[in-house]
Assembly symmetry: C2
Homo-oligomer: 333 residues x 2
């Protein structure tokens, strides 16, 4: 296992220390339990927006803490759900009297632990609402998930809902906007290689040199099928058609097209994929009015990519365009 780490036990703590050292203007890192909050947390009365999940998907979630996006992120061990006490502590830390919204990716451990944390916080009088993201059209039920997995739409939900809470949305308004994003976003990914969790020390799965995993999960969960490596244009079709047919999108719909790298794929390849995905979307009558291209929700060093479509409307577009200032996503500020 070749990694730029000191030891598997310390990788998350040391990465958090690196984030704290680099981004003191934007965030604070709390240890024992681990969570990240905005440097200006509770500076104004607003709904607190909290997300989290296993580490290894960086910049998700810690890289999205800051103005116009998350108030707190809760990192678990690599590919491991954060504990209820971590989530509860983060929830309390961002409580500015307007309630707290949890954005949860649909994995059984995450859902259970966020629910437990919400119950604990509610028992103490806090208002907590939750939205579960389950946008992965690849498979119904998976290794660690009942129902669809939650993947890249989470990034879009955090941005859009964060803009809403920044602008003063109520807890119920923010929850409903986040639900709309969850309802209107669909994703699917493909792995060209596996990845190695530090404490495991060996690849999550084996892929022959000429095969790829179509519909892979972000923890290396099996997808729809193993197929022979195809040209990028064919893969764009294989990823996008299940997305387009699922929602279903209507001709004339405005969409955000998100090409996400899984960690080990060069940016030049993501642009090759974007080119074809934009063509396919246009051929389906969709208007790509916004986009995001890069490594935003990753699987350590896995080579591969996912495609996400989010159906937009004026409200979602305006919230997407709103200023954001986080380590990993920034504009307008």
């Amino acid at each position: 296992m070749k990694k730029l780490i000191n030891s598997p036990e310390n990788v998350v703590a040391e990465a958090l220390a690196g984030m704290a050292a680099a981004h003191a203007d934007l965030l604070r890192v709390h240890t024992d339990p681990n969570y990240i909050v905005r440097a200006d947390v509770k500076a104004k009365p607003k709904v607190g927006l909290v997300s989290g999940g296993g580490s290894g998907h960086e910049p998700l979630h810690g890289g999205f803490v800051g103005l116009g996006m998350l108030d707190a992120a809760v990192p678990g061990a690599v590919f491991t759900s954060p504990t209820p006490d971590q989530i509860e502590a983060a929830t309390r830390a961002v409580d500015a009297g307007q309630g707290i919204l949890h954005i949860v990716k649909n994995y059984t451990g995450d859902v259970m632990n966020f629910e437990l944390a919400a119950e604990l916080a509610k028992a103490d009088g806090l208002q907590v609402e939750s939205v579960v993201i389950d946008d992965d059209v690849a498979v119904k039920d998976s290794t660690w998930t009942a129902g669809r997995r939650g993947v890249a739409t989470t990034v879009l939900a955090e941005k859009i809902t964060g803009a809403a809470t920044e602008a003063g949305a109520s807890l119920i308004e923010a929850r409903d906007i986040c639900r709309k994003v969850a309802a209107q976003g669909r994703s699917m990914g493909v792995a060209l290689t596996s990845c190695t969790v530090p404490h495991a020390g060996k690849p999550m799965f084996e892929l022959p040199e000429d095969e790829i995993e179509l519909g892979v999960g972000i923890h290396g969960e099996p997808g729809r099928e193993r197929i022979k490596l195809r040209p990028a244009d064919e893969l764009a079709e294989l990823l996008l058609q299940p997305i387009i047919s699922d929602l279903p999108y209507q001709r004339g719909d405005e969409v955000l097209l998100f090409i996400n790298g899984l960690g080990g794929t060069p940016l030049i390849e993501l642009y090759v994929l974007y080119r074809k995905a934009a063509e396919i979307a246009a051929a389906a009558g969709l208007k790509v009015t916004r986009h995001l291209i890069g490594n935003y929700i990753t699987s350590l060093e896995m080579a591969g990519a996912s495609i996400t479509l989010l159906k937009l409307d004026d409200q979602l577009t305006r919230l997407w365009d709103a200023p954001v200032k986080t380590p990993a996503l920034r504009w307008g500020l």
Copy 2:
């Protein structure tokens, strides 16, 4: 070879088409010859800032075209210098009557072709100045380079000089600022794995499972030595000490600390490295007042990272902080 491409012959053209489709608000892609210019090129009289080099280092250079950074980028084939006619065409395309500055990474082919292009443009009456970046302290002379190689300081030079030209600096002023960045930036990198150029179809070099290349170049050029894999903290020392001792930096100096991923290394590991690098810099009496962390000058899917220190002063800090709006670097707009 597992890549998200259609064919090795078309990867650069298709990635450029993807950039054109995604970033029509920021840039225009010209083909035959290939170059990228700002969408608002020549909208105001300013010095034109042009850089370029082989593809495969994305987002460098095309991802840095836009307001406050480059006016044009000239992409060659993967790991291959752009041709003089490409560079000349880009130079003409950004000529707004105030002269053109070329920022050139120190590789023999790049230097020669930028020089030829500058001569052609000057023969037609254009004013052209050039600054060569040679910040890599790893080795003196290398596979494709006389003298030191040009690496990650190039990103900082493009940002800072771009801010200066945006603010109305003259050609000579912009050249001198760029020279200052070149003189005050130092870098060194380490490769954990090799990478595969699409048209070659096999890795640039072989690295045993327990060895790394200390001082690697961004095209896989040999570095100082092959050593056994070490903990990240030791690697941070091995990369930073040659940098700190080279300039030399003085105690009390303000610096920008840049941790650059080479393409295949997860962000979580870059933060582990940042943590230790910031500690080492502080122990040397340096004040890290600015930073950059992420994949900005890459070697396709190579796993590894480079560390860069740039000595700052008030002028460079102000120009670094100035607004920038490009596909890969954006703040304030």
